[in-house]
């Protein structure tokens, strides 16, 4: 009875992960900044009185003021509101593209690692995708399918779908490779053998026994993917291959601001700072997560 009193109460392993995560200063700051940016973009528009698309030509090109904390642009639109709206789009694209890409990568990685019959084929496919010139291809894809998708789903949804799919299709390879390597090692473990010996079908073996054990590399690559997806979307918008001009995204706002670089430098700098802050904080979260999810480091 005495050892029950001295033993620590049972607790969820995620609390251990959280404890380790907390010790990483950069990751903690990164998470606070990231949550703040998400809050700013998704809750801000409900509080802020101005709309991102409201044109007030008489108050154009204003500087920083109390009414317009980041000034107004050449059409008198409030930049503070445009920043929120642009952030919504950039973050949404990043998150959806990340989810799709990680899903694709994990699925292909698990299939290749678990079923030897498709391993060769899927890994050749991965190599093939890695050999593609990705940014040129992304540009070509977004040029080609812009019109047809926009006419089917409407401009906003069509281009959203296009960009999200294009980013996901060109970025799943790294996750697939990492997951395949882990699955290959896990497959030989005794507990998998034990599960198989009692007749567990492959589907349940994968979902119950293998997937939870590859969760940590998947989560780390998911955060890194989020950062890359946000940068890729902004780069596409910056090159004029992303969302249409009247539709603010951070990348688009940088591109628009560059034309006014000499007179109003803040117009290109502010969205750039937002992109950089988001990516930096996400990368730091990924760094902390990698340490926190590694049981060899945890608890030291």
């Amino acid at each position: 009875m005495t050892d029950i009193a001295t033993a620590r109460p049972p607790r969820n392993q995620w609390w251990d992960v959280w404890d380790q995560f907390k010790t990483h200063k950069g990751a903690l700051v990164g998470m606070i900044v990231f949550l703040f940016i998400v809050f700013f973009c998704f809750v801000g528009p409900y509080i802020w009185p101005y709309s991102a698309t409201y044109i007030d030509i008489r108050s154009r090109n204003q500087g920083f003021s109390f009414a317009h904390p980041m000034g107004t642009d050449q059409l008198g639109r409030d930049i503070f509101a445009r920043m929120m709206k642009g952030g919504q789009v950039s973050l949404a694209v990043g998150i959806v593209a990340m989810v799709l890409s990680v899903f694709l990568g994990t699925m292909i990685g698990v299939l290749a690692g678990y079923f030897r019959r498709v391993d060769g084929l899927l890994m050749r496919l991965t190599d093939l995708f890695l050999a593609l010139p990705l940014l040129p291809l992304l540009l070509v894809m977004s040029m080609l399918f812009r019109q047809p998708l926009a006419s089917i789903f409407g401009v906003e949804t069509g281009i959203f779908l296009l960009i999200v799919t294009a980013i996901a299709v060109t970025s799943w390879m790294r996750t697939a490779r990492v997951v395949r390597g882990d699955v290959l090692a896990l497959k030989e473990r005794e507990y998998v053998l034990a599960a198989r010996s009692i007749g567990t079908p492959p589907r349940r073996l994968i979902l119950r026994h293998i997937l939870p054990n590859v969760l940590s590399p998947v989560m780390v690559s998911a955060t890194l993917m989020l950062a890359t997806a946000i940068i890729t979307e902004s780069a596409l918008s910056f090159l004029g291959m992303g969302f249409p001009p009247d539709f603010p995204t951070w990348g688009r706002l940088v591109a628009d601001g560059i034309d006014y670089m000499q007179q109003y430098p803040s117009r290109a700098m502010l969205p750039g700072i937002f992109i950089s802050l988001t990516v930096l904080s996400v990368n730091y979260i990924g760094d902390g997560l990698r340490d926190a999810l590694d049981p060899r480091i945890r608890g030291r």
């Binding site: 093939l128 050999a131 040129p136 540009l139 750039g272 990368n283």
Partner: protein
């Protein structure tokens, strides 16, 4: 090793053929019409004849076959003839013609290549030269202030997109301080010290932006690889034998930890050509990346196809080189 190299080389051919076909078919779906810029007053039958003149009349597989022949036989022979000065090397036949400029694609690429190589190549070399010593020292003094600072700077360099750092530098150094020109002048011929100075000044900003990015990436790999090796037994053995720290770090550990880093560097070389698209756009360097963007805007299909294919060949080639180097440098790895 030799059979492995041979097998990989042979495997590269179907890979490249498949990539070529994929890009070709993707472009084939393109709604972008190269005749879209022509005046609307052109009668339809003339328009149709112009399309035929551009070679758009035949079925896609015939055009693909022709393009493949031109890309793999005619164009390389002309490039070779230009380089060696022997005219007879050039194979007779139709060359790949750009829809935009009506001149052979290979010639335009040859004009653009020096700018890209200078700006992007230099930044890659500088990035390596900066990243390796910093990575070595921050791994040696892990968790020191130098390491912390290095980790922060490389995290920042890794996270800041070039389309933010580029305009930032333009704002500071071109607009406020006026040190460097905004636009890259390709016509500048370096024939005197003065012009050399001008050349260095106009290259400074794009090179810096790309160097920061490259150095940040290589630095992370270098540090991680050094740290992996510091805990190995052979390091303790070397120290126990009484070797100086200098020899232990710079000879034993550095050489072993360069193995993965060298392959990372080799894998990154193709991105010299493709990755600088945005930087070239910002600083108006008319290199290969900018050429690709213009070609995409103008639906110049032969140019897009050829450039993408050149990029794909570079990627496949350097993947192969990285794998082979891995085997050459690390005697533990045998592919046979």
């Amino acid at each position: 090793m030799f059979t492995y190299t041979l097998r990989r080389l042979l495997l590269a051919i179907p890979t490249l053929l498949f990539i070529a076909l994929a890009i070709f078919l993707l472009l084939e779906l393109s709604p972008g019409d190269p005749m879209a810029d022509m005046p609307l007053t052109i009668p339809p039958e003339v328009r149709e004849q112009m399309r035929l003149a551009l070679g758009l009349g035949e079925a896609w597989y015939i055009r693909f076959g022709k393009w493949l022949y031109m890309f793999s036989v005619v164009e390389p022979s002309h490039v070779l003839a230009n380089m060696t000065g022997i005219e007879s090397l050039a194979v007779e036949g139709q060359r790949i013609i750009s829809f935009q400029s009506r001149s052979p694609v290979a010639d335009i690429i040859a004009q653009r290549l020096p700018q890209t190589l200078w700006v992007v190549g230099l930044s890659y070399i500088l990035g390596i030269l900066i990243a390796v010593p910093i990575g070595v020292y921050s791994a040696y003094r892990q968790y020191s202030w130098f390491d912390q600072l290095g980790a922060f700077v490389s995290m920042v360099g890794f996270s800041l997109p070039t389309f933010f750092t580029g305009p930032l530098l333009i704002l500071i150094f071109s607009i406020w301080l006026g040190w460097f020109p905004i636009i890259y002048d390709t016509t500048l011929v370096v024939d005197s010290w003065h012009n050399l100075g001008l050349q260095i000044r106009q290259m400074a900003m794009p090179v810096f932006v790309l160097t920061l990015y490259n150095a940040a990436q290589i630095n992370r790999f270098m540090r991680a690889s050094m740290l992996d090796n510091f805990t190995q037994d052979y390091v303790r053995t070397a120290r126990a034998k009484g070797m100086t720290e200098r020899v232990v770090v710079l000879v034993h550990v550095l050489r072993n930890s360069m193995i993965p880093v060298v392959t990372v560097i080799a894998l990154g070389i193709p991105t010299i050509f493709t990755g600088a698209i945005i930087t070239e756009q910002i600083f108006r360097v008319n290199g290969l990346g900018q050429l690709l963007i213009i070609a995409i805007y103008a639906s110049d299909l032969p140019m897009v196809l050829t450039l993408s294919m050149v990029f794909a060949i570079l990627i496949v080639g350097f993947n192969l080189i990285a794998d082979l180097m891995y085997a050459l440098l690390d005697p533990r790895i045998r592919y046979d």
